[in-house]
């Protein structure tokens, strides 16, 4: 049934799914004795009501752009990378090593090196599950999940041993001042605009560039063509001479690298040191972002900003009411559920509706069985 216009597929249905997820979330808020409309108002005000709110919203969004793109790229090859969390943790480690052990003269050089470091470490962490999938047929969903656990154990180990800074807390020393990325408030101040303090930094621009590059990769290059073809049909890929091992490996390396890049925003941009967990679930948010964004970089960007707002709004909500932060996890779960798994619940009736409209001006079609 192909009678549904494209705009309905890419806009209407995701929007309806989102509304459903928000309505159910509202019911959850009612369940724990709060006013959902007030909660919504607090969240919206907190997220986009000030430059402070926007700063945090876009800061979170930057994380989700990277993890969302990571999941999206893998999805195009029909690979479900649940390992964004672990890959981002390793990426953070890569960024931290670059910042800690090389005396950089200027932040821009440090940023370039950190991009390389984060991408490399993230990719490396995706490489083993990718190899096992490509060569041994071990299901990538299970192996990437396991690698999340292993990554967090590895970080715990490093932060209580070789990388530990003096003191009680399991964390590294602060990065040298030269590696500090310009914050939004610095940039805006330079052109005379007053912007509140927030962790939003130039990594956001790197995120935007990543969106464009991923778009180029998937829809304009041969590799992207091969990735999409492989994702649609494995036997067809073999028929066309597209190597399964190559696609699985390369796609997962790109995916892992993108997830790893999250480290430049969270570690280099904000924390300025490596903690036991800099990622804080952003790897999983990437799944929701990618599903909402329908795997398209523009969609991912919009969905990332939406989730950024949700995170920032959720933080305000916890601050002003007794709704804990976990509310965000619930909303995120519901978005994944409605856009990813219950998609047909909305899609079937909507396409039936379009079919009924479409029937008024019938188009001749060959009969098929």
């Amino acid at each position: 049934m192909d009678k549904m216009p494209k705009w309905a597929d890419v806009l209407l249905i995701p929007l309806l799914n989102l509304v459903l997820a928000l309505v159910v979330s509202g019911l959850v808020v009612v369940l724990i004795g709060q006013d959902p409309f007030e909660a919504m108002a607090i969240m919206v005000r907190g997220a986009v009501g000030s430059t402070y709110g926007w700063g945090y919203t876009l800061y979170y969004a930057t994380n989700f752009i990277f993890t969302g793109l990571a999941v999206a790229v893998a999805f195009h090859a029909q690979l479900f990378n649940i390992g964004g969390e672990g890959q981002a943790q390793l990426g953070s480690l890569g960024v931290a090593l670059v910042c800690l052990f090389v005396p950089w003269p200027h932040w821009s050089l440090a940023l370039a090196a950190a991009i390389a470091g984060g991408a490399l470490f993230g990719a490396a962490w995706a490489a083993i599950p990718a190899y096992l999938q490509a060569k041994r047929g071990s299901h990538i969903v299970i192996t990437t999940i396991m690698f999340n656990f292993i990554a967090s154990a590895l970080l715990v180990y490093l932060l209580i041993s070789s990388l530990k800074a003096p003191g009680m807390a399991p964390e590294t020393a602060r990065f040298p001042e030269a590696t500090r990325l310009p914050f939004a408030q610095d940039v805006f101040a330079a052109i005379g605009i007053d912007w509140s303090r927030s962790p939003l930094n130039v990594s956001f621009l790197v995120g935007l560039a990543a969106c464009w590059l991923v778009w180029l990769l998937i829809w304009r290059t041969r590799l992207g063509y091969e990735i999409r073809a492989y994702g649609q049909s494995e036997p067809a890929a073999r028929y066309a001479g597209i190597s399964q091992v190559k696609i699985v490996m390369v796609t997962m390396l790109i995916s892992g690298a993108l997830a790893g890049l999250m480290g430049i925003n969270a570690v280099m941009g904000e924390q300025q040191r490596l903690l036991q967990d800099n990622v804080l679930g952003a790897g999983f948010v990437g799944i929701a972002v990618s599903l909402m964004g329908r795997g398209h970089p523009v969609g991912v960007l919009l969905a990332a900003i939406l989730f950024g707002a949700l995170y920032q709004g959720g933080a305000e909500l916890e601050f002003e009411t007794s709704v804990p932060r976990e509310m965000i996890v619930v909303i995120q779960a519901l978005v994944i559920l409605f856009t990813g798994a219950l998609d047909n619940m909305v899609r079937d009736p909507v396409s039936r509706m379009f079919l009924r409209w479409g029937r008024r001006k019938p188009t001749p079609q060959p009969a098929g069985d």
Partner: protein, 329 residues
Amino acid sequence: MDFLTVIQILDSTVRLAIPLLFACLAGLFSERAGIVDIGLEGKMLVAAFFSAAVAALTGSVWLGLLAGIAAALIFALIHGLASITFRGDQLISGVAINFLASGMTVLIAQDWFSQGGRTPSLSGTGRFNSIDLPGANALEAAHAAAESPGMGLSAIYWELLSGHTILVYVGFLAVPITWWVLFRTRFGLRLRAVGENPGAVDTAGVSVVRLRYAAVLICGLLSGLAGAYLATGLAAGFTRDMTAGRGYIALAALIFAKWRPVYALGACLLFGFLQAVSNRFNVIDLGLIEIPNAFVLALPYILTVVILAGFVGKAIPPRAGGQPYVKER
């Protein structure tokens, strides 16, 4: 390591294997019917929370158990709705369920108890208490009194076999029952068929949807037991994300067991043993060799990957697994 230590590790193996075993059998029913379930983790978690919460509120662990099972069943129904009725992606549905459980449990725990996302500690009738097999205490006392080596063997009885909660024994019983249901009943035949070729079941005049829902609900029931045991048997209350990846390990055990009940028991005992050993390593100082604590923590996951990569390369999952059934000629 003396004999008693070995027995103690095995005893702890049994305790730790039980939640894995329930979850693994839960996954077995679901996947044998063609519904892949990575939401075992989430179902265990809600069951753990609601069993502990209701046990804490009513003081009855049995009411807690029922509440836990009910919660897991509701989550199983969500998974069924997504993957059977609306033919959605089963992996994504599972992921959503895990997050939903992770967020909801803390949210509700905070709302009900305001203890930072945990339930109050359970005690007395709020927990499943251990059952002493006849004569176990007497034997243990005798062992403590006489240090003869022959008495050591009796520890197998009073330490390893006796002194578990009722759910442990139920768990072991669930293995032959599962086998019998799958391979000796009409329901089992149909269930296995629907996971291999739902078209065959459908054209034979049996409802694919109903069969798969039945499988998903059995999965909910068993993961409910797993979660309830975790919070009211193994531990004394709920803490946030207390399943700690057990649902995923159960899944790995299921693959390792090639979707067979008896092998599942073996796989779960192995993984339980790994956990028991790693718990033991936390406190035992090895002296010469220094194994990082974090490595021990990660060992079950590393081994799962190793097992997935090597030994089960040719494990053949049910053929129709993961695919929604759409009628076609």
